[in-house]
């Protein structure tokens, strides 16, 4: 296919942003629906081209399509940076994920954001967000990956803080940007070190250098860990996970996009994109696997006790991203990205479902919901499908990719395998806990200020949910016969088989564990065989620890940032600046003035006195000439 079309994939949403900001917003402010249509048309166009790109790459046996570069900065003998596209199998898969999920989210947003005064602004930012993510996916060198990486971060900031008059939203936006920037620091340092050692930013060249062993071991490890720290920030891995749960302050469709296809997927994608650097360093691979495996269970445990439906989903995302990292760290690109691919659809759907519920009840607090299955059948049905997929129930999408991750971790990191297996149980439990609290039992009234009865959302919101529900069922079938692995250049196309997979012990075990989790959730929150209050009582301190999210927010924000840095060290420097540095300056000035005042005493203005001193002086000269001469 012509390469100009590939450029359009990311240029179309960018044009949409420009048109909305500079044409629609100033001149058609009374027709807000135009902004939505523009965005949908642009991203729809990107999706269509992405589909063609996928087939083109498939026809090319997974190899990159040729695209000419554009020169950006050139300093002879010092530096050369080009802007180019890299469209290989990894990019092609990501393009589908990003454009498809984004398209669904934009359609849904028309209903969800209806009547919001910032409608144009919303779609402008959404277009830019999608454009940045597509640019990141398409970039063929690390500099431009970083450029779009930051662009994605900026758009998250703008969208999380969309309702900026709410202090909580403004704080969450700032937190997201600064925490991820902490990771970006490592990413940037990694890029610098890599460039110093190889003299190139080009990803294909770096792959080649890593594979041929041209970069030495220790350097490779440090570079990989630097890049990984960028991924830890963006993909909300421990210890930089704190921003993601707060990010739900943005409009819910934004959360769907952030959690499924854009912001957090960027981190996993980065590791996959630079994977040869990791693959040739044992330490880097182990680091990725351990951080991923630990994050998976750590976040899932917090998800068990959250009462806000979006927070449950947020910790679920962190946990699932941990799975992807674990998959990358133990198995490889195909395994990690396959989970990203499947996760994108069901997680987007879950957030859209949460938004739909919020649309009806005015709240995200599950304790005020209940009984919604009767009034919101479509939302209920799609939410259950997505949850089953997330829990890893055969034969839905999540089952296939989660199974591969468990298998690969059992092979190389048995301890992490057991953690991952416990996480499977937790995942099933917290999702069905959420379902029973939200949709089961009787309606508990919704938000205190909500009036009337909850109702199903309009078709413009339901249709994207149904499409995503279908994808949540079928997207995993891609690898039933090993086709996905083969496409990604991983293995020779031996898939698990649709039914034969259940004859193996590991998939059966994980399926049993997931069902156990669902049953326990049923026992506690639906059948009430066990009382949730009693359980909470039994695990009092443990529950508190989970509910307070292991006190990481307090540790970072209060102890570290506020007490140690802002009010401690930085305040000390400020005092130093005012009192010591500037104090010295003023001291010298005051000293000079005081000195002048003191010396002025001698200038009495009395001629007799001056005469006397002149006489003494002359006498002294004469005497010294006489005696010393």
């Amino acid at each position: 296919m012509p390469h100009q079309l590939l450029w359009l994939i990311f240029l179309l949403p960018l044009f949409s942003f420009i048109i909305i900001s500079f044409v629609l917003r100033p001149f058609f402010n009374d027709k807000p629906q135009l902004g939505g249509y523009t965005t949908i048309a642009a991203i729809g166009g990107s999706f269509v081209i992405s589909v063609f790109a996928l087939f083109a790459v498939m026809a090319n046996e997974g190899h990159a399509l040729p695209v000419p570069d554009i020169e950006w900065v050139l300093i002879e003998g010092g530096l050369s940076i080009h802007l180019g596209l890299l469209v290989d199998s990894l990019t092609a898969v990501m393009l589908i994920v990003v454009t498809l999920v984004s398209l669904m989210v934009q359609i849904y947003s028309q209903g969800y954001m209806h009547g919001d005064p910032g409608y144009h602004r919303y779609f402008a930012f959404m277009s830019l967000f999608t454009a940045s993510m597509l640019g990141l996916v398409l970039a063929d060198n690390l500099v431009f990956m970083f450029v779009f990486w930051e662009g994605v971060g900026l758009c998250s900031y703008l969208l999380i803080g969309f309702w900026f008059h709410k202090p909580s939203a403004a704080n969450a936006a700032k937190k997201a940007f600064i925490v991820t920037r902490l990771g970006d620091f490592g990413f940037l340092a990694g890029i610098l070190a890599l460039y110093f050692n190889t003299g190139t930013f080009d990803i294909a060249e770096l792959h080649h250098l890593a594979i041929t062993g041209a970069i030495s071991g220790t350097i490779l490890t440090w570079v990989a860990i630097g890049i990984f720290s960028g991924a830890v920030g963006k993909s909300a891995q421990f210890p930089l996970h704190v921003w993601l749960p707060d990010a739900m302050e943005g409009p819910t469709p934004v959360s769907a996009l952030i959690h499924a296809a854009t912001m957090v997927a960027a981190g996993v994608f980065l590791v996959a994109r630079t994977f040869p650097l990791f693959a040739h360093s044992m330490e880097a691979m182990t680091t990725v696997a351990i951080i991923g495996g630990f994050t998976a269970i750590f976040a899932a445990s917090i998800g068990l006790v959250m009462t806000d439906i979006k927070r449950v989903l947020a910790y679920s995302t962190i946990s699932q991203l941990g799975y992807m990292m674990l998959g990358l760290g133990t198995g490889g690109v195909a395994i990690g990205i396959f989970h990203l691919f499947n996760h994108a659809f069901f997680k987007a759907l879950l957030f859209l479902g949460a938004g739909s519920v919020n649309h009806a009840t005015g709240t995200f607090d599950m304790r005020q919901m209940g009984g919604l299955r009767k009034v919101m059948p479509w939302t209920y049905a799609t939410f259950v499908i997505a949850s089953l997929s997330l829990a890893g129930v055969w034969p839905l999408a999540g089952f296939w990719s989660k199974d591969e991750i468990l298998a690969s971790s059992l092979e190389s990191q048995p301890i992490l395998f057991y953690l991952a297996l416990i996480t499977v149980f937790m995942t099933a439990f917290y999702m069905f806990r959420a379902i029973f609290m939200t949709f089961g039992g009787e309606y508990r009234g919704g938000a205190p200020e909500a009036h009337g009865h909850p109702h199903e959302s309009p078709p413009v919101m339901v249709v994207p949910m149904v499409i995503l529900a279908v994808l949540s069922v079928v997207s995993g079938f891609w690898n039933v016969g090993g086709q996905f692995d083969a496409f990604m250049g991983h293995g020779g196309g031996h898939g698990p088989g649709f039914f034969t997979v259940l004859t193996h012990p590991l998939p059966l075990l994980s399926l049993m564990v997931a069902i156990l989790g669902i049953v326990l959730a049923y026992a506690v929150y639906s059948a009430k065989w066990l009382s949730a209050e009693k359980l909470r009582g039994m695990f009092g301190p443990l529950h508190t620890m989970l509910a307070r999210k292991y006190w990481f927010d307090e540790l970072y924000e209060d102890v570290f940032v506020r007490t140690s840095m802002l009010n401690g060290f930085f305040a000390g420097l400020q005092q130093f600046d005012t009192n010591v540095v500037d104090g010295t300056v003023n001291g010298v000035a005051d000293g000079t003035i005081a000195g002048g005042r003191a010396v002025r005493q001698i200038q009495t203005g009395q001629l007799q006195l001056y005469g006397l001193f002149i006489g003494i002086g002359i006498l002294a000269i004469i005497l010294s000439v006489l005696f010393l001469g």
Binding site: G77, Y157, K174, F185, V581, V585
Partner: protein
Amino acid sequence: MDFPYLSLIIFLPIAGAILIAFIPDLSQRMVRWIAAVFTSVPLLLALIMFVSFDRSSAAVGVMQFEEKVSWIATINANYHLGVDGLNLPLVLLMAFLGLMVVLISWKIDLRVREYFAWLLLLEASILGVFCALDLLLFFLFWEIEVIPMYFLISIWGSGRKEYSAIKYVIFTLFGSAMMLTGILSLYFTTGSLSMLDIAGAGIGSFRAVIPVAAMFFFLLGGFAVKLPVFPLHTWLPDAHTDAPTAVSVVLAGALLKMGGYGMIRICLGIFPEVALRFASLLAIFAVFTVLYGAAVTLRQTDLKRLIAYSSISHMGYVFLGIFALTQVSLTGATLQMFSHGVITGLLFAVAGLVMHNTEERNLSKLGGLARQMPVVAIIFSVGGLGALGLPSTSGFAAEFLVFLGSFTSTMVVGIKVLTILAVLGVVLTAGYILWLVQRVFYGPVLEEFNWVSDADILEKVYAGCFIAVIMLVGIYPAILTDVIKLGVLPMVGG
């Protein structure tokens, strides 16, 4: 001799200042228009020069648009102007800011004639510093600049304006005294005042009257006060805070760059060996300035003072890029000077607008203004994003080149660790910029600012110009780096 572009660029603002000061019975309106015309033409000339500048590899280290006339023959002083890749972007920057500050000052109504006369003289003197290739001429322009600055701060300023103005003068004269010592010792060593001749011959070929390293540090001291470098920086927050808006824009935008320019042109150009010998030590100062400046910025509660401290931190990157001594790092440092000039210029202009419209500058009392002044909020955010080095703004291109050039420097000991530490500065920068934006524009809408008006058409126009430059250089930095690289190559022995 060809068309005297540089002389016109320098002397047109002076001519404007004379017209404004001496034509009787000028209306305020007339004064403003004269100022606008006499700053527009230099900008236009600078743009023509920029477009027609020879970017081929034959232009490496060659002065273009050169003018040379004997001035004081007995001491071999010449009226010698010229631009290469190093100072052309700075001339362009000052010419751009020159017109912008006239627009920013449009609403000044106190002693209008004097104000614009001083403002034009200020512009001319800074342009003179950037163009002069003769040490005496350079010093002359350097000293002239202090006079308008003193009056502009002490008459049209606010707060402790007399204190700040005199502090600025004394600091600058302290620096000038060191610089003059350096220039005189250079003259008595070489018998020449031409920067190019001395650099070309090499300082090592003369019998030095005082140790060469001492000359280097006398000159560096003078420049370090201006840039500024820790611990010579405390004049800056006071001067910025108390200066009128337009003067803060010139101060941060162009005046600080006189220091950076002097370091590259004179300290590096004439004393490459000394610079190399002390590069590690100076890089430590650079990184300390970056981090210390950022940390102190985080503690500020005054709108303008915060931006002032952030300038100190950002100038640390320039200092680092200079003494990392590679072509890329020097290109980055020069680009950072240009970029910071535009970005911080915009930030000060908008901060001034916020202060003017709300009559409030205390950050703990501002808030929620995005509802009352949406356009100002957008403009300020773009400036802020440039300051925190977001890609697609010039700030990113400049900082990235500084980091890259510094990290890959092989001549300076310990530069890798220092560069990584400097990169940490970008995290702190994100902290204070986002905090500042949130503090001023986000949060609940405050009733007491309901009467506040948004940017008017004039303000939108000049802010639009700033943003266009920031984005243009950010998206396609080669527009400047293709010029700058020609100028810095001779500095690194290329």
